[in-house]
Homo-oligomer: 326 residues x 2
Amino acid sequence: MSDIWTWHGGALDAAKRHFGTGVEPWIDLSTGINPHPWPVPDDLAIDWQRLPEPELLQQLEAAASVYFGVAAEHVCAVPGTEIGLRLAGRLIGGSAHHVAPSYRTHGEMIAGSTATEWDGDAQSGQTLILANPNNPDGRLLKPEQLSELLRTRADGQWLLLDEAFADSDPAISMTPMVSETELLLIFRSFGKFFGLAGVRLGFVLGPPSILAALRAQLGAWPLSTAAIAIGTAAYRDRDWIAATRRRLHDDAARLDLMLERSGYRPIGHCPLFRLIETEEAQSLFDRLTRASILTRPFADQPHWLRFGLPPDQAAQARLERALGHG
Amino acid sequence: MSDIWTWHGGALDAAKRHFGTGVEPWIDLSTGINPHPWPVPDDLAIDWQRLPEPELLQQLEAAASVYFGVAAEHVCAVPGTEIGLRLAGRLIGGSAHHVAPSYRTHGEMIAGSTATEWDGDAQSGQTLILANPNNPDGRLLKPEQLSELLRTRADGQWLLLDEAFADSDPAISMTPMVSETELLLIFRSFGKFFGLAGVRLGFVLGPPSILAALRAQLGAWPLSTAAIAIGTAAYRDRDWIAATRRRLHDDAARLDLMLERSGYRPIGHCPLFRLIETEEAQSLFDRLTRASILTRPFADQPHWLRFGLPPDQAAQARLERALGHG
């Protein structure tokens, strides 16, 4: 399992080329992207011709800041969380740990960063990079744990917190702790919860001085007019957000039941994905590909397999059938 | 004239707020963006849901490389030339000159870079940042001059060449000089010639080793699915590209005639804009705003005024009337 689908999710075309197109259409469960995206209105005004005016970017950051629960001065929009992690990591620099296993990019944010297992300890003395909820195992730390972690950091050591999967429950987010003086950066992602990963939109939350340095690297027009228009409207859509939080919870509970009926123990607390740990992960991955279902194996953790949410009842039924035919 | 429209073009909303909405619709001549954009097809497939697969990005870079006339291994797509200039500048580092006046960001690419006037000399000994054609004066250096400049660089000193406005004539581009060993980076912009600045798409051309370092800063998904889909289709549209080159040439000649009839001497060789130099630049800018026409003044060059191409005959007529009413 050293192919691209063990490297990151969503490589559906590569999987089709490798495993064949199959009879039924492929179901992509290899990502943690909400399969029921925020519905981009057909008449949403996207002006491709003009450079986005600064006020439009400010409106997006204002809408996002309301959603995140922080002041807008602590919010910097970036063209995808991926580039936000990389640019911010270089700005912070110094010596760092990154909790692993987690999102691969965490290990590339700060040169020389060393991987560390999460042991629940404060692990102070260096800047710490971790995700909450974690990906791919869905481990969820409580705000009290994270507050304690922040409180016990040594002087000058940052907590870089990836909340790319934190949208399903606002109570788990550390955004209320962001301030001018706290050595805390939080990374948020638009594409996962809102199901629109192709837009490339993310946010870095932190002290204004760091955000100013980040903006100096991004320049005047970091986002497309589409990202600004879609993001602003989506973050303002409270009804959709509330309904989606309920729906994701229900869909994840349904996936849990299905995995349990098939003899697996689903792990994790992020409703956008579930992990299972099994000796037969590789053969199960292969078996699912023969049913044209792509899940997410991991090169370094051969006993793991991650499942995104099936998009509909037909996909649920196909997954359950394929899981059962051992 | 210390307002935002002396800082960069395109700040139309700010101008409206300041000068009033006016009776007639505003004409924005404050940018060098083609007013006749590549027509984005209504049925162009833009998948906002999925992360763009790596092959799609490769297809875009391949299409662009054919258009630029270089091998695809020398092409790295970036989410806007602005961020490309800033990230690449930091990668190159060292000591640098930037030719001024030019695009403001050139002075922010490399920390400590000093402004230098263009005197036609090789100015070796440090990395040199310049634009060809230059903006805002449209100064055009011949390929022989640039080749000589490149040839006489000292060891380890780069030429960073901004060709954001070079699309109107492929013969002026230095892309054929890009190679594995040449210390040459070229920056290309999608939005200006193709008239779609809101897409945020640009390219850095250079040695693969530098592009690899740049890609490491950008991460896996630097571009939106829209930027990839629109860019790929537009760069492949040879008929539109050929017709647009002819049209821009004609439209610029028409603007030249109009400026000359009004007593000004248009400067420059980029058909997307013309500069005039006049003692009355500030009062002319103000007078044009009273006719709801936004041009581009410059905080540091109070005698300059830059004009983009009027989009149609009605705009041409309004501009000529406003120019004449001194």
